[in-house]
Symmetry: C2
Subunit: 373 residues, 2 copies
């Protein structure tokens, strides 16, 4: 086992508590960790890109620990998070004879984690699963908290389950192979935690973000801080009846932009949509008199310094007019009874859930944003 | 509301307790019951046969109670319990704009209940659902207990979720429109409850089964007794870590027969497979010296009197040889680590879980059964 991975404990009830381990080299420990959970077989779910990089290493680790291991690789990208991808993964796991006491191992980014997690949640009505996130976004966000699912033609993440992993192994060395663009996209979610409820962490990010990108000790520290923040929210509100919605800061705008760009990652990836969404959420908050324009500016400046987009005009190919944006937002699953719910902020680190936001005010704001270019 | 439906309470924890109401005319009460749960919209999932019989009535009841209601009808039969059927139902519910506070209403037999229940379990990561079972099999078995799911090309019910309904409305008048064959198939599950753990009820069935078929008060009483038995097991072992497996009495053989007949209902329906399986389980128990041959004979005689098959030779088109049967059983999801687990009996009402049964003994028994014709 590695010397000293950072550990974040997620103290859920009913035997569902688990640890998130954060450190360099954890992929090679997957076998020993899986064996310690009493599993006899593991079905590794990954994508073709990650399989080429880490497939042999994780499979070797599992087999060396005495587990029967097989690997299922889907095509990289959001298109695999579909009904067809789900059927292929479930049938692949069944063909590997994964039984109730065995493990599904999700090796990859958010798409793989969501897809493998949902397959684990429903295969034989539920088998245990291990998250081995290999992107910054997955390490700080999607691998923690038990949200799993796939996309419907009618919208993203509309079908899924709450299914907590038994363990998360965040091997921060895997981020060395990420593209700059993927690192930046994940970094939008890192900054988000500061913006939601931890102004000190946002300040720390402003001072230390380069270390996160370059793989210094700041990287592990940032991942641990984000996971601790997320774990706290998840334990208090596992099924998003309340507080957990705060994690959607920047996401109502961001999801709309993803929808309007057809989920084409060549145009916009999730984290880029979130970065624009974060900047918009703060500027909209400032416009409503909730926070200062100076703070909204500080948010956008830091995201831009890290190489992230912060304005609608930066969406390649454009994103339509204010009505198109509003329509795309109204389809978001967080809409209740037709009312628009936003996460807004009274300042950096002071976000709150704002239900019943007036559509006309949003439209006027978006029109000004589009005019400003 | 109807005068006095029989009520069986299922006292699950964490706010998941629910009632099963049993009586004639309950379909027309669905609206008032759904409104009492605070739902504002309902997505009715059914099949084309049931839609023609009760679709307008349930929709009218829901709309009269102030709910927005839409209906999704799948093709009748097991083939709808597929990945494709699941995607169609989920997307249909999304198109009806069913949100987290709304209800999915499963109106139909076991296929509809399992498919609609799994869709409800996973739509937006879980919406509430109402079971309105319209077959005897669904009323006494599949609508109670929260097992939902679909079939994979690799086997039946291999993908699914535990998701408890908020209410079960067992309208026993709907059974008046069932074919004799469907009534008999459901009756195999009724008799099963006596055989598992209630010798008195089996005796009562021997005396009163005709009243169940003809729609006398015995029907409601039998459904209530079965639901009470199932509810007890489910509350003690919701996720089938132990005792719940008793409900599979007759099912290891039965599932194998369904598999070997290609799930063609023209050849064999689930309840017919279970009837043969119950008779086999008792004869196998007698052969192992666990119960008397006289009791095994009593079981088979009663099932035969009710018009059910009890011998392998009665499978239309045949079921292959002993090896084919063993192979089909070994694929059953209740197999753990390759060992065959059976539910056997020390007598009527004295069933127990028997893990680690020797394949050679099973093969010898099946060979004799096939020879006997």
């Amino acid at each position: 086992m590695s010397d000293s991975p950072l550990t974040v404990h997620v103290p859920l009830d009913a035997g569902r508590a688990y640890d998130i381990l954060i450190g360099r080299g954890l992929v090679a420990e997957a076998g020993a960790r899986a064996a310690a959970l009493g599993a006899r077989a593991a079905g590794i779910v990954t994508d073709e890109t990650v399989a080429a990089l880490y497939g042999d290493r994780i499979r070797g680790s599992l087999e060396a620990a005495g587990l029967r291991a097989g690997l299922i690789a889907v095509a990289p990208g959001e298109a695999s998070k579909s009904y067809a991808g789900y059927a292929a993964v479930c049938d692949g796991l069944l063909a590997l004879k994964i039984e109730r006491g065995d493990l599904v191992v999700a090796l990859g980014g958010g798409v793989v984690g969501d897809l493998a997690g949902f397959s684990a949640a429903t295969l034989r009505r539920g088998v245990r699963f291990l998250q081995v996130p290999t992107t910054l976004l997955a390490q700080v966000d999607s691998s923690v908290g038990g949200k799993t699912g796939i996309n419907s033609p009618l919208g993203k993440n509309l079908v899924g389950a709450f299914h907590q992993p038994r363990l998360v192994l965040a091997d921060t060395a895997t981020l060395d192979t990420l593209s700059e663009r993927e690192m930046r996209a994940g970094y939008a979610e890192v900054a988000k935690y500061g913006l939601i409820g931890d102004a000190d962490f946002f300040g720390w990010c402003e001072a230390n973000w380069r270390g996160i990108f370059s793989g210094g000790p700041e990287r592990d520290e940032a991942v641990a801080i984000c996971c601790r923040a997320k774990a706290g929210v998840v334990v208090r509100d596992e099924r998003e009846d309340g507080e957990r919605a705060l994690l959607n800061l920047g996401h109502t705008f961001g999801h709309a932009l993803e929808r309007l760009t057809g989920y084409e990652s060549a145009r916009l990836v999730h984290g880029e949509g979130v970065a624009i969404g974060l900047a918009l959420a703060f500027r909209f908050s400032a416009r409503l008199g909730l926070c200062s324009g100076q703070e909204a500016g500080r948010v956008a400046n830091h995201l831009a310094l890290a190489g992230l987009p912060t304005r609608l005009a930066q969406v390649p190919g454009g994103c339509g007019d204010a009505d198109a944006l509003l329509d795309a937002m109204a389809q978001d699953k967080k809409v209740r009874d037709g009312a628009l719910t936003f996460i807004l902020a009274r300042g950096i680190g002071q976000s709150f859930i704002a239900p019943g936001i007036d559509g006309a005010a949003v439209r006027a704001f978006l029109e000004d944003e589009l005019r400003a270019g």
